[in-house]
């Protein structure tokens, strides 16, 4: 597996987890460990959740010259999902993958029954009907999701429970693509999956001509939905044979080629250092004699000393430039995406800076109070509303470190939204903020979360007269 960073922790094995946690917080400069949760799985993988982002470390325990110590390596991670018809062997394939990888010590075998039996999982109050299975290849760590339906996938995506980086489309050779395969591919497009891998299952029960036909049909379908029908890897095999331990090309070897296809075809997430810099402000304070410092983690780009920038948010629009950049209390000439930094700003008063503002390159992002978003409203059984949501619904919106009153309006053609549904809506905020496509938020009513969503489009601002959202004319 690719190693991002490595640490050696000394001390008795008993205390190594707390050691590890405090090292992690120090290295990432996380001051409050409140949002940090860590737990370990049987395969010596250590998961650390900060807010909702997961970082995974591989732990190795050693004894050296009579001293116990442990090393932790951060590994690359990827989320994949299986999509396919109910009878085409998604679950068998998942079981077969864990079986084959268990031989190499890269996964724990999970039987068909265990996968099928665990359909419900509670995540942040929203019931996610998904099965999560984990395994590793030599290259990276995978979390494998299997959702039973369209609505479940969408819910998964919106609530941020798992963002799919790639998908395995499973199709049985004896049936070929089904009418609803179109809906499966449409879904993959909708949740933002760009690369898929096709697995033609049950190849042992038909002859080669049929397999070729299925492959051609699948490639045509993929091209029709805007995937790369030519370059997409198609793996032919039988999950059932692999599960039985058959080492023929259709058995275990097909699973290995599928995993290779995943490793090669599904892109590695990269840190974006080319785009204009973006720094969400976590905190702001005054350094006596110098000026105002804002802190935060650079989400993209490179921040250099003397860079020109803007502070945006809460209707404010302040032009400034960077007098100094510090990482870990040391002055540096530049900071790259992922760095946690402090930036000293010229000519900015502390009273005009608020937590939740955004510091970015001049004119690189726009500030607005009007957006289009994809929202999932929690059902009654998940603690959401019992009544439907109509237009002009005004409640508090929470995102990142800020919250602000927000009005929700339905799109034309939607007359109401029932709890438990996901839908595209217009958002109108009381004040102008920076919200970028893909940014997540929640809607709360009387201190109860009733909806969660992600921004899909930024619209031009609308005028809010006398801070009254209900009187805003949108159309």
């Amino acid at each position: 597996m690719d190693v991002v960073s490595r640490v050696a922790l000394y001390g008795p094995w008993k205390t190594r987890y707390s050691c590890f946690r405090s090292w992690f917080c120090r290295s990432k400069d996380i001051s409050s460990a409140k949002n940090v949760r860590n737990f370990r799985t049987s395969s010596n993988l250590q998961y650390i959740f900060v807010d909702r982002k997961c970082t995974i470390f591989k732990l190795c325990f050693n004894v050296c010259r009579g001293r116990e110590f442990c090393t932790a390596e951060e590994v690359r991670h990827c989320n994949v999902g299986t999509i396919g018809h109910i009878d085409h062997g998604k679950t068998t394939l998942t079981a077969a993958i864990t079986k084959v990888l268990e031989k190499e010590g890269l996964a724990k075998f999970i039987s068909y029954d265990e996968i099928d039996r665990a359909p419900e999982e509670k995540a942040r109050g929203i019931t996610i009907n998904a099965t999560h299975v984990e395994y590793s290849t030599k290259l990276r760590h995978y979390a494998h999701t299997d959702c039973p339906g369209h609505a479940d996938y969408i819910k998964n995506m919106i609530s941020g429970a798992s963002q799919m980086d790639g998908a395995v489309i499973v199709v049985a050779a004896d049936d070929g693509p089904m009418p609803q395969t179109r809906e499966h591919l449409l879904l993959a497009k909708q949740v933002g999956v760009e690369k898929v891998v096709v697995f033609i299952n049950k190849a042992d029960v038909v002859n080669e001509d049929v397999i070729e036909l299925v492959e051609i049909e699948m490639r045509e379908l993929l091209s029709g939905f805007g995937f790369d029908g030519v370059e997409t890897p198609v793996v032919v095999g039988s999950a059932l044979l692999a599960l039985k331990g058959d080492s023929s090309p259709l058995g275990e070897q097909s699973i290995k080629s599928l995993l290779n296809a995943l490793d090669e075809h599904i892109p590695k997430p990269t840190r974006d250092t080319k785009s204009p810099f973006l720094l969400p402000v976590d905190n702001a304070f005054t350094v006596p004699g110098r000026g105002t410092v804002v802190t935060g983690t650079l989400t993209r780009g490179i921040l250099r000393k003397n860079a020109e920038g803007e502070l945006l948010g809460f209707d404010e629009h302040i032009k400034t430039s960077v007098a100094d950049v510090q990482i870990f209390k040391k002055s540096v000439s530049k900071a790259v995406a992922g760095d946690n930094l402090g930036a000293l700003l010229r000519g900015v008063r502390i009273t005009s800076v608020q937590k939740g503002m955004l510091f970015c390159e001049s004119k690189s992002v726009s500030i607005s109070n009007h957006f289009i978003a994809n929202v999932y409203f929690l059902s009654r059984s998940e603690g959401g509303r019992s009544k439907p949501i109509m237009s002009r619904y005004i409640q508090q919106l929470f995102s990142k470190t800020w919250n602000i009153p927000c009005r929700i309006d339905l799109m034309e053609g939607n007359e109401m939204i029932m709890p438990g549904e996901n839908v595209c809506v217009y958002l109108t905020l009381l004040k102008k903020m920076v919200m970028l496509p893909g940014q997540s938020f929640t809607i709360r009513e009387n201190n109860v979360t009733v909806g969660t969503g992600i921004i899909s489009e930024v619209k031009s601002s609308v005028e809010v007269m006398k801070s009254n959202l209900s009187k805003v004319k949108l159309f």
């Binding site: 609803q180 109509m390 029932m418």
Partner: protein
Amino acid sequence: MAESWLKEQAQAQGWAKATRLEGRPTKQGLVAVAVDSAGRHGSMVEVNCETDFVARNKSFQAMVEGVAAACLKYIEGAPTSTISPFTKMHLDADQLKQLPSVGGSTLADEVALTINNIGENVVLRRAVGLKTKASESDGLFLTGYVHPTPSQTNSPVAIPLLGRYGSLVMLKGGADRQKEEIFGKQLCQHIVGMNPLKIGSEEDKPAKDPDDEKVLILQEYLLDPSTTVGPLLTSNSVSILDFVRYECGEETLQDTENIVAEAVN
């Protein structure tokens, strides 16, 4: 000849597959509502399938539309009650299977064909039909609504509407039919949204928490929470005689009775 042989083959395959898949759980599906253009007859059906991918598929949707149309045809030909001003008929899964489809076979045959095509279990769950007497002088009319609202909103009323929730309402109006029909649609929407359990009468006491109100005439009106449904009916000089609400995959009273019966046995 060859064509009819192929059709027979498909039918036989369909039945074989349908028998194999029988008993697998079906929680997803569609509710379809069909009302004739005069508002004299209406039907609502629920057809279930295993995943919502199938519910979004065109061929499944076409089949459900066919089922709703077949029910509408059946209710048009059914005898009218002589005592009550309107007739209401509930159809269970077995009765539905026997109904003739628009194409000439039975609905059970149509379902088997669909099962063969999409490879998932499909179940005709329930249906309800409402009809008024033949004369139009009684002022009775039916309106239907489904949610989520289908994209083609301007379609003629006779074409079935498909969604996850549906409602049918029997109203008695006065003179202005056009206005009343719009109001009827909004009432249907209210019923889908607020899920009342009964119409209620003047004797019903309001619930302690207005959010828990299950009596229709005492509920806050969905489109204008400042008023309740009762006064609104009076001011529109419309009375509501009956309503039915379907939610796809919901537990019905029948289901609960079956479970209780099984537990007792």
